[in-house]
Assembly symmetry: C2
Amino acid sequence: MASPQAAKDLAGFLRPYAEAVNAAIEKWLSDASVPAALAEAMRYASLDAGKRIRPALVMLSAEAVARPESWAAEPTPAAVAIELVHCYSLVHDDLPPMDDDALRRGRPSAHVKFGQAMAILAGSALLTRAFEVLSLGLADASIAAKLVAELAAAAGPAGMIAGQVADMGLCPVPDGAEGGKYIHLRKTGAMIRAAARMGGICAGADAKKLQALTGFGEKIGLAFQITDDLLDATQPTEMLGKTAGKDVRDRKRSYATELGIEPARRLAREVTDQALAALEGLGPRAAKLRDLAALLSRRNR
Amino acid sequence: MASPQAAKDLAGFLRPYAEAVNAAIEKWLSDASVPAALAEAMRYASLDAGKRIRPALVMLSAEAVARPESWAAEPTPAAVAIELVHCYSLVHDDLPPMDDDALRRGRPSAHVKFGQAMAILAGSALLTRAFEVLSLGLADASIAAKLVAELAAAAGPAGMIAGQVADMGLCPVPDGAEGGKYIHLRKTGAMIRAAARMGGICAGADAKKLQALTGFGEKIGLAFQITDDLLDATQPTEMLGKTAGKDVRDRKRSYATELGIEPARRLAREVTDQALAALEGLGPRAAKLRDLAALLSRRNR
C-alpha cells in the first residue's frame, strides 16, 4: 500500500507540518499578559517536542478535501488547538495522582520540572487557550463554533477524559479486549478522529467526505494505539522518550498484552488497511493521508 | 442606594436564577456517554450548592440591556458555561498541591470525596463541557464564538489561571496592595467581569452598553473580593461553609489583612458605589443589577 512518499521516514514526512504548527503555537502562546513562569511551563509542555501527528492530520485532512484556495477556513488554528489539548492531557496524565510518570518526550515531565501546582495550572491553561485559539483564529464564526463543539466533545467527559477515567480503573470497564477497545476509542481515538474531522470541517467537506475522514480517523486512531502498545512492550525507554514497559508494570490494558505481539501486529496491519479503504471516495487528493497511514504503521517510536 | 428589592436576602434574590441554572446544568450534565462515576463527580462539584452569583449576573446583565424578546440569544447556556468553569476552578484550587482545602460549600471537597485523580479529571471535564455548552447551546454561531472567546480569556492564562498562579506565589507579584489587586483582578475579577459581558453579548448590547456592563462587572468583582476577604477574617467556618481564617493562616494577600477591617469595609462601600455609577447609562432596566450590587455588599456568607 506504500507510495514512494512513504519511503521517507515519519519524522521527515511530518516536519513541514510540525514546523508550521510550532510557529503557530509559538505565536498563540506569546502573550505578555501571561505571567512569565506560567508561560514558561506552557511552552515547555507544548513546544520543541512531539511528533505533531494530530496537527498534521488536521492539515492533511483539509488537503484531502479541497485545494487551499477553496477551503472554508485556514486549518492552522484548528491544528494548534488540537495539539494544545493533546499537550494538556499529557501534562495532567503524568501527574503523581494520575499515571505518575517522571519522563515525557525524553525530558522531565512538567510536574517534575515545575511542581505539581504549576503543572495542573499550565495544563488547564493549554486547554483553555485551545478554545480561545478556535474562537479568535477563525474568521468564519460558524466554522469556529463547529470546531469548538468537535474539540470539546472529543476532549471532554464522553471522550478523552472518559478514556483516562477508564484507564485509571476509576469506572467499571468490560473484561478483556472489549475493555481495551472502550478505553482506547476514548483516550486516544476520540482526538485522532476529531483531528481528521476538524480538518474536513475547515476545508468545507460535504457530509460524504466528512464521513470518509471520520472513518479514516477512527481506524488510524486504533492502528496508532495498537502500535503504541507494541512499542511500549518492545522498545527501550531511550528510544521512546517516555518510560517503556509501563503497560505491563501498571497492568494497563494493552493490545500487546491482551493479544500477544504477533496477533497485535497483524491487527495493526488490518486496521491500517481499513483506514486506507475509508479514503477511497476521496480519490488522489488523499494521497498524503495514505502516506501518513503507512508511515504511522511502521514507526519505531 | 438600596431599593425595596434589596431588603430581601441575597439567597432569596438569587433563587429563581439559581433554580433556572441548576435545571440547565442538570440537563447539560445528563449524558449517558459519560462514565457514571465521572458524571457523579461532575454533578457533586456543580449541583445543589453555591449561590450562583455568576449565572445570575449573566441573566441580570442581559435583562439590563433589552427585553427578552429582543435578545440576540437566550443567555442560559452562557450562565451554565460560566458556572461550570467556576466550579472546575474550585475543584482544582482545593487539591492538595494547590490550596489543599478539605471543605467546600459545607461538604468534603471533591478530592476528599472522590480522590485526587477523579477530582482533576472531573474539574477538567467541567471546563471542557463549558465550551461544548456554548458551541451547542447558542443558535447564533457569531454569538457563540464571541462567548467562547470571552470565557476562554477570562478563565485562561492571562485571567483566572494567572490569578491562581500569583496567589500561590508561583510568580513574582508587586508588594502590598498592588499585589493584592493584581491577584484579585485575575483570580475572581476576570470571571465576574466576563459574566456581565457575556450577558450583554447575549442581549445584543451595543458598544456603549457593553462598556457600562464591563465597568459594573469590574467594580462588583472587586467589591465581591473585598467582602470575601472580610468574611474570611471575621466569620466562623460553620457560617462560610468553607474553611475560615485561611488568608491569615496561609499568609495570603487579603484586603482585610492588608488594610485592616474597617478601611476594607469602607473600600467595599466605595467600590459598590462606583459599580452603581457605571450603570447610569442603562437606566431603569438595570434596577435588578443595582439590587444585586447592594445585596452582595451586605452578604454574610
